[in-house]
């Protein structure tokens, strides 16, 4: 995901300064990794260089003076282009979970014990997310839904893998 496009989206509401952008990013995308300030400023510099944003002045609300950034016409066009694009479905199976199971089988060991422990860890995380949903903001609930359904997909794959395991073992033994 491109942080630049998320910042452009936040700026499409009104001009904002860097600190505001960091705060709003973390608030609106509650499940995402919080942005580092360095990342915000580096991204803003790049957006300005590409002509997608411009500095419109400074703001001072009791604290230090802050540079205010605004989205440009070119920025809006770029944002629209990004929103119209689809995310390409992942072309590779890149999960470390998958790699561990295959390697465990290759190494002559059993993946079964690993899979059961992984299942317990996933389920513990799902319990935390489920509890959080009970009192979360709408954005937090959406983020928890996303995480829960992905963990659930992993778990269902783990279950299938456990069932297929005897088959896999037979194959490498042969």
């Amino acid at each position: 995901m491109s942080i630049g496009h998320v910042l452009l989206g936040l700026l499409s509401e009104r001009p904002k300064h860097g600190y505001e952008l960091k705060k709003e990013h973390d608030q609106r995308l509650p499940g995402a990794k919080p942005l580092a300030y360095g990342q915000v400023y580096a991204t803003l510099q790049r957006l300005e260089r590409d002509g997608f944003t411009e500095v419109t002045g400074t703001a001072q609300e009791g604290g230090p003076e802050r540079t205010v950034h605004a989205i440009t016409e070119a920025g809006r066009t770029e944002l629209d282009r990004w929103l119209a694009e689809i995310e390409a479905p992942a072309p590779y199976v890149a999960s470390p979970l998958f790699a561990r199971v295959v390697v465990a089988t290759l190494a002559g060991g059993t993946a079964e014990e690993y899979l059961l422990r992984q299942r317990a860890a996933h389920l513990t995380r799902m319990r935390e997310l489920t509890a959080r949903k009970a009192s979360g903001s709408p954005a937090q609930v959406l983020a928890a839904d996303y995480a829960l359904q992905h963990l659930d997909a992993d778990l269902r794959w783990i279950e299938t893998a456990l069932e297929r395991h005897t088959v896999l073992k037979g194959e490498t033994d042969a």
């Binding site: 389920l123 799902m126 659930d152």
Partner: protein, 241 residues
């Protein structure tokens, strides 16, 4: 509170339980999980006194349940247990309200008191508007919420739920689970949910995992991953007791 010791049960040539043992504490919320045919529903039916195991023991509050005769078991079930099935299993000829009232009357409560309890539970589960409707006129989600009201109205000490969200879409299921778990915790009832859905299992304090008729994980609170307690504690710590 509830205990099963090396239960065995077969149906014809199929072994459903093959030495399953489990301990469930008072006020615990547990999920019984496992692939199809692993024996999870059979375990629930044995714990709830609906069927008898061929071998092994079932104890409720320290008393043998499996050796009681049919009448005594029925009485014990009515006084202490509430059950929610996958498809509600409401009486089709009765209205939603009558479905909730009926078991209360059977349990020996007065007419007025029963009606009051039924109305307040239907209200709480947000199906008070459907009180006068028959099951055929209700949506899947409404049916299950009426079934939850029926199970909880008698204030059981243990609630058994067999795939309570199995017939619902994900949001309706979430709502039923939220109400079921919330009400169980509030009334400090023990809740045993059989499910093949991990997202449903995530509402529980502990997972009891079955495979081929045996419990492979979570047989006791100490081995189940998260300790029983408030959802907050369970979620934050993930610590074993």
């Amino acid at each position: 509170m509830l205990e099963a010791r090396t239960l065995r049960k077969s149906f014809g040539r199929t072994t459903a339980l093959d030495g399953a043992s489990v301990e469930i504490g008072e006020g615990e919320v547990v999920a019984v999980t496992g692939p199809s045919g692993s024996g999870k529903s059979t375990l629930l039916h044995c714990l709830a006194g609906i069927i008898r195991p061929e071998a092994g023991e079932v104890l409720f509050a320290g008393r043998r349940l499996d050796t009681l005769d049919e009448d005594a078991r029925t009485r014990l079930r009515r006084e202490n247990f509430g059950v929610v099935f996958q498809f509600g299993e409401l009486v089709p000829e009765l209205t939603a309200e009558e479905n909730v009232v009926l078991p209360l009357l059977f349990g020996g409560r007065g007419r007025r008191e029963s009606l009051q309890a039924a109305r307040s539970w239907l209200e709480r589960l947000d199906v008070a508007d459907c009180a006068g409707q028959r099951p055929a006129e209700l949506s899947g989600g409404q049916l299950q919420r009426v079934a939850v009201a029926r199970a909880l109205a008698a204030e059981p000490r243990v609630i058994f739920a067999d795939e309570p969200t199995g017939a619902l879409d994900s949001l309706a299921g979430e709502r039923v689970m939220g109400e079921l778990v919330g009400a169980a915790r509030e009334s400090r009832a023990t809740l045993v949910v059989v499910t093949h859905d991990n997202r449903v299992a995530a509402y529980a304090d502990r997972e009891i995992a079955l495979r081929d008729g045996r419990v492979v994980a979570g047989a006791t609170a100490a081995t189940g991953g998260t300790a029983a307690g408030t959802p907050g504690e369970a979620a934050a710590g993930g610590v074993s007791r």
